[in-house]
């Protein structure tokens, strides 16, 4: 066998490495661009395919998981397509070309996040995900984002006419909402093109830290220009492209970012291939019909929140240099398809930093909501918040910032409970058990002069409790804590309660609480008997007779979490959380609709094959407080090590050139031999088990090794060998190819072949 040492390859490897090390930045822009995809949601109409919604996305695993938004991928009224087309540029500087079809692996419509899985080629041929080796970026950690940190958007700017763009900006503010909570949104100082929704946001260190998120849709009877409507297909078959054809909302420039940590549970569940489904027909959010118009009422400001997300007190002004402000309001008839927007102006000038561009509604159907921020200085002047729902102004409210700190009477920090004989408030503050006839509220008061008129009004499920209104004259100390109570003739029923405290007719403080469950001391037992039932059948077992266990073999095909419930009123917001090996894979807040009492509420966890080994845990929460939890172990009780692992290493690619013509040579096999064998051993045995990866050059002589090369460490040197065998050319081989942390990623080789 003729072979010669591949000295040239070594030399080129070294030269390329050193050159690229100098050029390499912390942020690998090219890699992030290559991992960016353009997503088209298409509706099949017989032989015609109509584009319905578009957006960007980012590949987050080499086997084809894509992180993006839910609003343009999950089928809905505004995006009724049934096919997701994934396009990407052959080079980062080219417009995208349709390559694959994808399916939704996991989605949270409220958070507007989705993980897609590439399932087939564009022509419908199925793909074995294990054979894919796509460029990807691993999700980073968004908790490290600080104000004014440099962020970079990477996504597509237009309807498939342009290549991927990068836009630099800074983190200009953090906005908080009840769901998902602190840092619901990061605001970006630059303007992201509307079609870039779903695109990636990277930190200065090149970590994927967010998903650009904004949602537009066209509402009947409204000006479509707000949604930047584009029509380019004759969708109704009248041989014209006119106003009667399907319009694609491409949106307006925006700066709203969902932090990547909010997508962690979706990503984990996708990697594990798990699906979690509530089998109780009455559970979940009740969607209102589109004819029921959303309403925003009782809009007011608070300077801060308490642990339960309730306003500390109601304010109408703030002193100079205030760093915290929240707008509260009641909402009803909202759905996950509702588009909600908050415009903030300061002395009449738009304030982008604290505004929220149009996004999908992430709350329930009805309740109290807030949006605001802390630890950021609000500018002085008259600040006005205007809430738009589905493109129409729904409510607005003003507050003066920078006013003198006057000694006005204040009520604040309302907490609820049962009062013991010593006057102490018992319970956890916002969830009270049923059975009592008296509910009490403790609140802080300041600057209350004697003789000041004040009023307490109690509500249950939105209706004033008859006889609860108490108009009083203040008789106590100016500053301190006070208690007020509501007493009913019979036990207070389960439900959502509210207390409003007024001072001289002005709303001074308000807070909501829940009465639910059976009393256990001062606390409520709402979800007793949480348990797990495993099954080896494709059909669910009889949950009322199934024997629960907390230990299952590794051959079950489904795991069911069951729990009973007592005295919980329909309409109450509750949260179900699943964890595997302490990592959250499912976290969903929805409206309770299963009746006040019942047994064996079933939630199913399934995977494509058997449920993987691991320790599974469910938690059931009300108002962010865990009311029930249970754990079960499957198999050895720990996930396989590589199941959540992402392959890491350095990508190797290159160009093979005919030394005589200087042209790339197509169809040449570049064989990378694994660390355990040398090139000579491969020549002798011709055994493919020695091959680490194999790549074939394309028309331009370019090849890409699909598996990343593992990094060598001081303790473990991994030396690969390379072989090129091609009819008509001298064979080439090399041993001792080593990559480590200093090696640039990707490695680009240029290899010259000599004709024999």
């Amino acid at each position: 066998m003729k072979s010669m040492p591949l000295l040239m390859l070594f030399v080129l490897f070294s030269l390329t490495t050193s050159a690229m090390v100098r050029a390499q930045d912390l942020f690998d822009v090219e890699r992030s661009k290559r991992a960016t995809v353009f997503i088209t949601q298409v509706e099949n109409r017989g032989a015609t395919q109509i584009t319905r919604c578009v957006g960007s996305g980012t590949i987050i695993s080499e086997n084809g998981l894509i992180l993006t938004n839910a609003h343009h991928t999950v089928r809905s009224e505004s995006c009724p397509g049934d096919l997701l087309i994934i396009s990407m540029g052959i080079t980062p500087d080219e417009p995208p070309i349709a390559r694959f079809r994808a399916v939704v692996a996991q989605a949270d419509r409220g958070l507007d996040l989705a993980v897609l899985r590439i399932a087939s080629y564009i022509d419908g041929r199925l793909i074995n995900p294990e054979t894919l080796s796509l460029p990807f970026v691993s999700p980073g950690d968004s908790t490290g984002i600080q104000l004014d940190d440099t962020l970079t958007f990477v996504g597509y700017p237009t309807l498939a006419d342009d290549s991927v763009v990068t836009l630099r900006g800074t983190a200009s503010s953090f906005l908080n909402e009840p769901i998902p909570g602190i840092r619901s949104w990061v605001k970006f100082s630059n303007e992201i093109p509307g079609i870039g929704t779903g695109g990636a946001i990277y930190s200065a260190a090149g970590e994927l830290v967010g998903v650009a998120t904004s949602a537009y849709r066209i509402f009947p009877g409204q000006d479509a220009s707000a949604a930047n409507c584009v029509r380019f297909q004759d969708s109704n078959g009248d041989s014209l492209v006119s106003a009667d054809d399907v319009c694609i909302a491409t949106g307006q420039p925006f700066g709203t970012i969902r932090p990547i940590n909010l997508a962690r549970s979706l990503i984990r569940a996708s990697l594990l291939g798990m699906q979690i489904l509530s089998l109780n027909q009455g559970s979940g959010t009740t969607l209102t019909s589109e004819s029921t118009k959303p309403r925003i009422t009782r809009i007011f400001f608070a300077a801060s929140l308490n642990d339960a997300g309730m306003p500390s007190s109601v304010i109408s002004s703030l002193p100079v240099g205030s760093q915290s402000l929240y707008l509260f309001f009641d909402y009803e008839n909202m759905t996950p398809e509702t588009i909600y927007e908050v415009k903030v102006t300061n002395d009449g000038r738009p304030n982008r930093i604290f505004s929220l561009e149009p996004v999908r509604w992430s709350g329930g159907q009805k309740g109290m909501w807030y949006i605001g921020s802390t630890n950021q200085v609000w500018p002085n002047g008259v600040t006005e918040f205007t809430i738009l729902v589905n493109g129409e102004i729904a409510a607005s409210q003003r507050i003066i910032i920078g006013s003198a700190d006057e000694a006005t009477p204040i009520f604040s920090d309302v907490a609820f409970g049962l009062v013991d004989n010593n006057g102490n408030l018992l319970g956890n503050g916002y969830i009270l058990p049923t059975g009592g006839t008296i509910a009490s509220a403790r609140f802080i008061h300041r600057n209350m002069a004697q003789g000041t008129e004040w009023t307490a009004i109690w509500y249950v499920n939105g209706t004033e409790i008859p006889g609860s209104r108490q108009s009083n004259i203040w008789q106590g100390e100016p500053d301190g804590a006070a208690t007020t109570s509501v007493e009913a003739g019979s036990a207070l029923p389960a439900g959502s309660y509210r207390l409003e405290l007024y001072i001289q007719g002005r709303l001074a403080a308000t807070s909501d609480f829940i009465i639910a469950g059976i009393p256990r001391g001062a606390f409520a037992d709402v979800f007793p008997n949480p348990r797990f039932v495993g099954s080896t059948s494709s059909l669910p077992p009889d949950f009322t007779t199934a024997t629960p266990s907390n230990n299952y073999p590794d051959q079950i095909t489904a795991l069911y979490a069951l729990f009973d419930w007592q005295q919980i009123a329909p309409g109450t917001l509750w949260t179900l959380r699943w964890l595997v090996d302490s990592d959250v894979i499912y976290d969903q807040t929805s409206v309770w609709n299963a009746g006040e009492n019942g047994v064996a509420f079933p939630v199913q966890l399934t995977t494509a094959q058997n449920v993987p080994d691991g320790t599974y845990r469910i938690e059931i929460l009300l108002n962010n407080i865990v009311f029930a939890s249970a754990s079960a172990q499957v198999g050895i009780g720990q996930l396989p090590i590589d199941l959540l692992g992402q392959s890491e290493g350095v990508q190797l690619r290159g160009t093979i050139i005919d030394a005589e013509t200087g042209q790339g040579v197509s169809g040449i096999n570049f064989i990378l031999i694994s660390q355990d064998f040398s090139a000579a051993e491969y020549f002798a045995a011709r055994d493919e088990s020695m091959i680490y990866a194999l790549a074939t050059t394309d028309n331009n002589g370019v090849f890409v090794i699909s598996r990343p090369l593992e990094l060598s460490t001081e303790d473990n040197e991994i030396a690969y060998s390379a072989v090129i065998l091609a009819e008509g050319y001298l064979p080439m081989s090399a041993d001792g190819l080593v990559v480590d942390e200093e090696t640039p990623d990707p490695i680009d080789l240029v290899i010259y072949l000599t004709r024999d």
Partner: protein
């Protein structure tokens, strides 16, 4: 002077003879290398196969034997044996149909181009042959390659409750030239 000329003439002749002899040895070695075979034995499936020595061999859970010519440019000519447990009543036609359904899901423009033909294998057993073709396109979305037409044939024989499929795949341009290699493989194959 004359002696020098004679010596020079003889050296020319000797050099020419050495070159011709060297080329002859080279061609012999080359032909030998091209026709050289290796033996592959799988005790579990009872397979003994002789394949070209320059080809690379592998086995996996989905096939007990596969040899590919990785020195070939473009699609590597491949000979592969797969074994699946089947009921005794199954016919080769049903095996072909199952293979076609699977390939329709994963191969572009897959087309069966001949009806099953019964043949007799060298060991005297009967088998059926079907030819097919498909387009082999680049899986990597970032590489540019014009799809090539791959032509193949499956030889299916059913014995001991197993359907043994011996597949031959080659680029349509080199199919006829490489077919003799497959025929020699079949001649020497012991199942």
């Amino acid at each position: 002077m004359i002696q020098q000329l004679t010596s020079s003439r003889w050296s020319h002749v000797f050099t020419t003879i050495v070159i011709i002899a060297g080329m002859g040895v080279g061609f012999f070695l080359r032909d030998n290398a091209l026709t050289e075979v290796r033996i592959y034995t799988d005790i579990q499936f009872g397979i003994t196969a002789f394949y070209p020595a320059a080809w690379s061999v592998s086995s996996s859970t989905s096939y007990p034997f596969r040899a590919r010519n990785l020195t070939e440019r473009g699609f590597p000519t491949t000979i592969q044996i797969t074994v699946q447990t089947v009921p005794d009543t199954i016919s080769p036609r049903q095996v072909f149909d199952t293979l076609s359904l699977e390939r329709l899901q994963t191969l572009a423009s897959y087309n069966v181009i001949s009806s099953p033909v019964n043949i007799t294998l060298p060991d005297g057993s009967s088998a059926s042959v079907v030819e097919y073709a498909y387009a082999d396109s680049e899986a990597d979305p970032f590489l540019e390659r014009i799809p090539s037409i791959i032509r193949g044939q499956d030889v299916v024989t059913i014995r001991r409750g197993q359907a043994i499929t011996i597949s031959f795949l080659s680029d349509e341009k080199t199919y006829d030239a490489n077919l003799s290699t497959f025929e020699e493989f079949l001649q020497r194959l012991r199942l």
